[in-house]
């Protein structure tokens, strides 16, 4: 086994170990038995893994600057909600205007609905990509931000599909950690295969030098559109999973803050890195939850407040994040991909200094 493992190239070995560790942790956690709060946070963390990988595909691997992730997640979440809610619930919750009769009768199980939600999002992502990807840099960032905002405007106004600003309740919930982990793993594996394929290499070439990539015959625009569509697909899946986790969705959840959290994960985990991204997603999600204690009444040494200070959590979070960005300019894991071998190597170096090369 070890010999086989060593014969693989370093990159593949690292992914292999990563996948094994991921599966082990998921299975162990499942059998340890978690209380529902931790279970929920872990589920949320895994969903953030999916969404941040989708953003990393565009921003980290292809070098485009997109800020539209929350919009695509919203499409996925709403598609998921409409596809899985029962006709009775739809009757009950669409208060302002009734839902379209065709949509009312649809009720699909979790996985097919998730797939369709992803495909719908990918299609809309494709339609958006066609005009928008002619732009670059900051212009692209603002245009994608704009489209995310327009998507939200549509959600708020298309009462017959989305129930407007009231949102939707009673989406059938799926909180099984193992299932979420399995789906996340599929996405991670997909990303690994994509980035190792010639297609992924072409994307990285575009990121590193667009002109050079064009010169060796890569069709830049087509690759960008495909990358953007795949990213939308994954974001839609993530949104769908989110809808099925929380059971309630409304346009407020998909505002720019969400995109920003995801962008933060991508930058902390490293642009164009997979495992760094996975770890960053779970750490950031956990931290955001942990900081909730700040909004509660404080009784610490001399500081004592009767009421909580709403907003303190986000203040601390913003400060932490700015400190991290100011200090670690290349992301928490630096320019190199996080790897178990690298970690081991670093620990070993500390114990005995590296031998001089003769």
């Amino acid at each position: 086994m070890m010999k086989r493992l060593k014969s693989l190239d370093q990159d593949l070995r690292k992914h292999f170990i990563g996948v094994i560790v991921f599966i082990l942790v998921a299975v162990i956690l499942q059998f340890v038995g978690l209380d529902s709060y931790i279970n929920r946070i872990l589920n949320l963390g895994l969903i953030y893994v999916v969404v941040s990988l989708s953003m990393n595909l565009v921003n980290g691997f292809t070098g485009m600057f997109s800020l539209g992730q929350a919009g695509f997640m919203a499409i996925g979440a709403y598609a998921m909600a409409v596809l899985t809610m029962s006709a009775d619930l739809k009757e009950k919750y669409y208060l302002i205007e009734p839902v379209f009769p065709i949509l009312k009768q649809i009720q699909l199980p979790y996985l097919p609905a998730l797939l369709i939600a992803g495909l719908i999002t990918a299609f809309i992502g494709f339609l958006i990509a066609l005009p928008v990807l002619r732009l670059t840099d900051d212009y692209l960032a603002i245009a994608t931000l704009g489209f995310a905002e327009i998507i939200l405007v549509f959600i708020r106004t298309q009462f017959r599909i989305t129930n407007g600003a009231l949102g939707l309740k009673g989406i059938p919930q799926h909180e099984n950690l193992l299932l979420t982990a399995a789906l996340t793993l599929v996405v991670i594996l997909f990303m690994i295969f994509l980035t190792r394929s010639s297609y992924g290499k072409a994307l990285i070439a575009i990121r590193d030098d667009e002109i050079a990539a064009q010169a060796i015959g890569i069709n830049i625009f087509r690759h960008k559109v495909v990358s953007f569509s795949i990213s939308s697909f994954l974001a839609g899946i993530g949104g769908g999973m989110l809808a099925a986790l929380v059971g309630t969705i409304s346009p407020v959840q998909f505002q720019f803050v969400l995109t920003f959290n995801v962008l933060l994960i991508v930058v902390l985990g490293g642009m164009g890195r997979i495992w760094g991204n996975v770890i960053a997603a779970i750490v950031v999600t956990g931290m955001l939850e942990y900081l909730r204690i700040l909004d509660e009444p404080i009784n610490f040494l001399f500081i004592k407040t009767d009421d909580g200070l709403p907003g303190l959590r986000m203040v601390v979070f913003s400060i932490l994040l700015m400190v991290v960005v100011l200090i670690y300019r290349q992301g928490l894991f630096g320019t190199t991909e996080f790897s178990w071998a690298g970690l081991a190597k670093r620990l070993r170096i500390k114990r005995k200094p590296k031998q001089e090369v003769q």
Binding site: A143, F147, V153, F260, G311, L312, M322, V325, R329
Partner: protein, 295 residues
């Protein structure tokens, strides 16, 4: 006809406000190539400072407003020193994240300190006076806004055209590297740019408060985004462009809502539609100069 004039006046006052804020974006972007996401929150700070100034200081309203604008300008300098200056040579995405982080920090600090409840902006009484000419009616503040904007623009043009700092600013936005080799004190010029931009944003915030007298910590977000769009539509880095972009955005918003009231729900989406349309046909904005990447 009176309908048209009415909307023209409304559009002019809204457009002038957008123009004031858009200038701050365009100046910073011209020099640092940075979308200053916190600009909209600087706008909010200016309005809040006037609110608290009127409560806690004995000064008359005009003194409070001038003081608030100056303080906000100083705040802009501090913001740049803390959040952007340490990242001068870092990858651009990190600076952008720092900018968004600064924006969130300001919004949440505002919720913490100022409270989340809406506050009533202390509008000087004469500004709310309604003037009626025929069937057209408008408040005094709607006239003050374009006039103030025009005066500030003239002042700004004077600074940029004739003073030494203005020349340094133009040099930096034309060619950052070369200008820094010519002995220009970059940090001072950037601080000055942020000061001017923040003062203009504060004036914008104060006038906005006079026009729509309700203060909330998030009040800067949507105007902030729209004004950045205005700057991009006009061709970012170009002052005339920012003003034209701001006016264009203000007019079209008022006109579309006025002519097609059913579209009112989509109001905040218009700016983005305009942005995307303009960028598709003229990717550098109306007045932007095209730069071609050299191999």
């Amino acid at each position: 006809m009176s309908f048209f004039i009415q909307h023209l006046i409304n559009g002019l006052s809204l457009g002038s406000l957008y123009a004031l804020i858009a200038i701050g974006y365009t100046m910073v972007y011209g020099i640092l190539r940075l979308i200053n996401f916190a600009h909209g929150d600087v706008f909010m700070l200016g309005a809040y400072l006037v609110f608290y100034g009127m409560i806690f200081t004995p000064f008359p309203w005009w003194a409070v407003m001038i003081l608030a604008a100056a303080l906000t300008g100083l705040f802009g300098i501090v913001l740049e020193r803390l959040a952007y200056a340490p990242l001068r040579n870092a990858p651009r995405i990190n600076v952008l994240i720092s900018a968004i982080g600064a924006s969130f920090l300001m919004e949440n600090l505002a919720i913490l300190i100022f409270g989340g409840r809406p506050r009533a902006f202390p509008v000087p009484a004469f500004m709310e006076h309604i003037v009626r000419i025929g069937r057209v009616s408008f408040s005094v503040v709607q006239v003050i806004i374009p006039v103030a904007t025009l005066l500030l623009l003239l002042g700004l043009t004077y600074i940029i055209r004739t003073t030494k700092t203005g020349m340094a600013m133009r040099a930096l936005s034309t060619d950052y590297e070369t200008a820094s080799l010519m002995g220009i004190n970059i940090n001072r010029v950037i601080s000055f740019t942020f000061f001017i931009g923040s003062v203009l944003a504060a004036v914008g915030g104060i006038l906005y408060g006079c026009r729509y007298p309700q203060l909330i910590p998030m009040m800067g977000v949507m105007p902030g985004i729209k004004c950045f769009i205005a700057a991009v539509v006009g061709g970012i880095g170009n002052l005339t462009g920012a003003v034209i972009g701001g006016l264009l955005l203000g007019f079209s918003e008022i006109m579309i809502v006025g002519l097609l009231p059913t579209l009112n729900d989509y109001r905040d989406g218009f700016a983005f539609v305009i942005l995307i349309l303009i960028l598709l046909f003229k990717p550098t904005g109306l007045f932007g100069s095209a730069t071609k990447e050299k191999v």
